[in-house]
């Protein structure tokens, strides 16, 4: 197992944001973390990154405990979210140079140019972040996420703000990374078609608890409680949100 999460819990005062969550992710898997707003997806990702200290439970990545080997683990992990932005006045290049230094990359400029090309934003290199559209900003975040060639990628709604064509390109890039380099990806999204296409396995969270885990078709059958031939995650999502499951 590349990632092992055991009995993870987080409470803020009386509120249980994440409640006794356990799952594992194999090397090279793309796993979807689904749930409505407030289900605990982002909190779980933030705990995996060490940004939030868990109230209970344990996280181990690459066979090492996150609590004691945070720095070492994060050398090979990366993350992006449309809600984490960059310093507005710095150019795209300057922002990426900062992260290239953090990861101590050997040929930073080459690496940055590769990523800019990969996500089709080479022409934005010398533009300040404040001059970018939301979609362009999201793609800068993705460039940052691939900067250190991560073994584990945590993506919190990576295609939010992207138009369908760019979102499609981004999904292909992620699938290529998984195929070519065996990158392991934990993925959250509200776009169910995207999740069905990207993820072999899904963990469904509701009110901080795992209510189902498995392939899209297994999740569909488990939550809708009927035989289906095709996954129907949109329907599953609506069922969960309306409280007919769990």
């Amino acid at each position: 197992m590349l990632v092992e999460v055991e009995n993870l819990g987080k409470t803020f005062g009386e509120f249980h944001a994440v409640d006794n969550v356990s799952f594992g992710i194999e090397r090279g898997e793309i796993v979807g973390l689904l749930g409505a707003n407030g289900a605990g997806k982002t909190t779980t990702i933030h705990m995996i990154l060490g940004l939030i200290t868990p109230t209970s439970g344990r996280i181990s990545i690459f066979g090492k405990s996150m609590a004691t080997h945070r720095g070492e683990i994060l050398e090979h992990v990366n993350f992006t979210s449309p809600y984490a932005t960059f310093p507005f006045r710095l150019t795209v290049l300057e922002n990426l140079k900062v992260f290239a230094r953090i990861y101590n990359l050997k040929r930073p400029r080459e690496r940055i140019d590769e990523q800019l090309e990969r996500f089709g934003i080479t022409k934005l290199r010398d533009k300040p972040i404040s001059g970018l559209s939301s979609g362009e900003g999201t793609r800068v975040g993705l460039c940052k996420a691939f900067m250190n060639d991560p073994k584990l990628l945590l993506l919190d709604e990576p295609t939010a703000y992207l138009d369908p064509e760019i979102a499609w390109q981004v999904k292909n890039t992620l699938l290529d990374a998984q195929r070519e380099k065996g990158t392991t990806i934990l993925y959250t999204s509200h776009n169910m078609d995207e999740v069905e296409r990207m993820c072999k396995r899904i963990i469904f969270l509701h009110h901080g608890k795992v209510i189902a885990a498995g392939s899209p078709i297994e999740i569909t059958q488990a939550i809708l409680e009927e035989e289906r031939e095709e996954p129907a995650l949109e329907e599953v999502f609506m069922r969960v949100v309306k409280g007919k499951a769990a």
């Binding site: 933030h46 990154l49 940004l51 050398e75 900062v98 101590n104």
Partner: protein
């Protein structure tokens, strides 16, 4: 601590200093303006008022050093606030970057900014009022070191407060030094304060630094007593600030405040 990660933080804030006009104003505008204002005011006070020789030097020296203290502690907190404003903390702390590396980078940038600001202010003082800080500098250095350590302690404590209470208390970055100003005795001796306030002033490393510097400018030589009092108090305040910051950072991580957007 990894040097390349400290360098990354230095690069991030130097880019900001180059691109953000607010930071240029902080670094150059206020130190220069302060010295011009205090220069004219001191000259006015000395005209026919029978004030002691060296009065202008004392005022200008004090103005330069106060600006240094103020700028350093403000820039430390503002550098952190900049990352908070642009929601960059999640990006930074989801990398292997350690808190100590982040703080070390910010401290280096603040030292560079203070050097730029002080050089500009000293050049104005020399050009306009023939106050040459260089001959005094070697004797001032122990007091300057004490001032810098205290400003570091204050900067660390304020940054900790902003970590905990977010931008709600960001005004402290600009305003907290003002609270210390009356008891720091920058432009007047400690003896001019009421007795009860003198006791408070002697608990301030800054009051010892400025008192010591006034003694040098008055030709009474270096005062080891003021230096060691300042150094001892700094050891206490700096240790307290570091402990406070470490505690508040863990608390912030526990409460999920690092990922809060503002």
């Amino acid at each position: 601590m990894k040097l390349h990660r400290v360098n990354a933080v230095i690069a991030r804030h130097l880019y900001e200093s180059r691109r953000n006009f607010d930071r240029v104003v902080d670094t150059l505008w206020w130190p220069v303006l302060d010295i011009v204002m205090w220069g004219f005011f001191s000259i006015y006070l000395t005209h026919g008022k029978g004030l002691q020789p060296g009065f202008v030097s004392m005022m200008l020296g004090a103005a330069i050093l106060w600006t240094m203290f103020y700028s350093f502690q403000r820039d430390m907190a503002v550098a952190f606030i900049d990352d908070l404003w642009c929601r960059n903390l999640i990006n930074l702390f989801s990398t292997p970057l350690m808190l100590s590396e982040y703080m070390a980078g910010i401290i280096v940038v603040c030292i560079l900014k203070v050097i730029v600001g002080m050089t500009a202010a000293s050049a104005i003082a020399w050009a306009a009022w023939s106050f040459d800080v260089l001959p005094w500098l070697p004797k001032f250095i122990p007091y300057i070191a004490n001032l810098l350590i205290f400003s570091l302690a204050v900067g660390v404590a304020i940054t900790g407060m902003v970590f905990r209470y977010s931008t709600k208390v960001q005004a402290l970055a600009w305003g907290f030094a003002g609270l210390l100003m009356p008891v720091s005795c920058i432009f007047y001796p400690v003896s001019s304060l009421p007795k009860w306030l003198q006791d408070v002033a002697w608990m301030m490393p800054m009051a010892h630094s400025f008192e010591g510097m006034r003694q040098i400018l008055a030709g009474n030589g270096f005062s080891p007593l003021h230096f060691w009092w300042g150094a001892g108090l700094n050891a206490v305040y700096f240790t307290m600030a570091l402990m406070f910051f470490g505690w508040i950072f863990e608390k912030a991580r526990n409460r999920g405040l690092l990922v809060k957007q503002e």
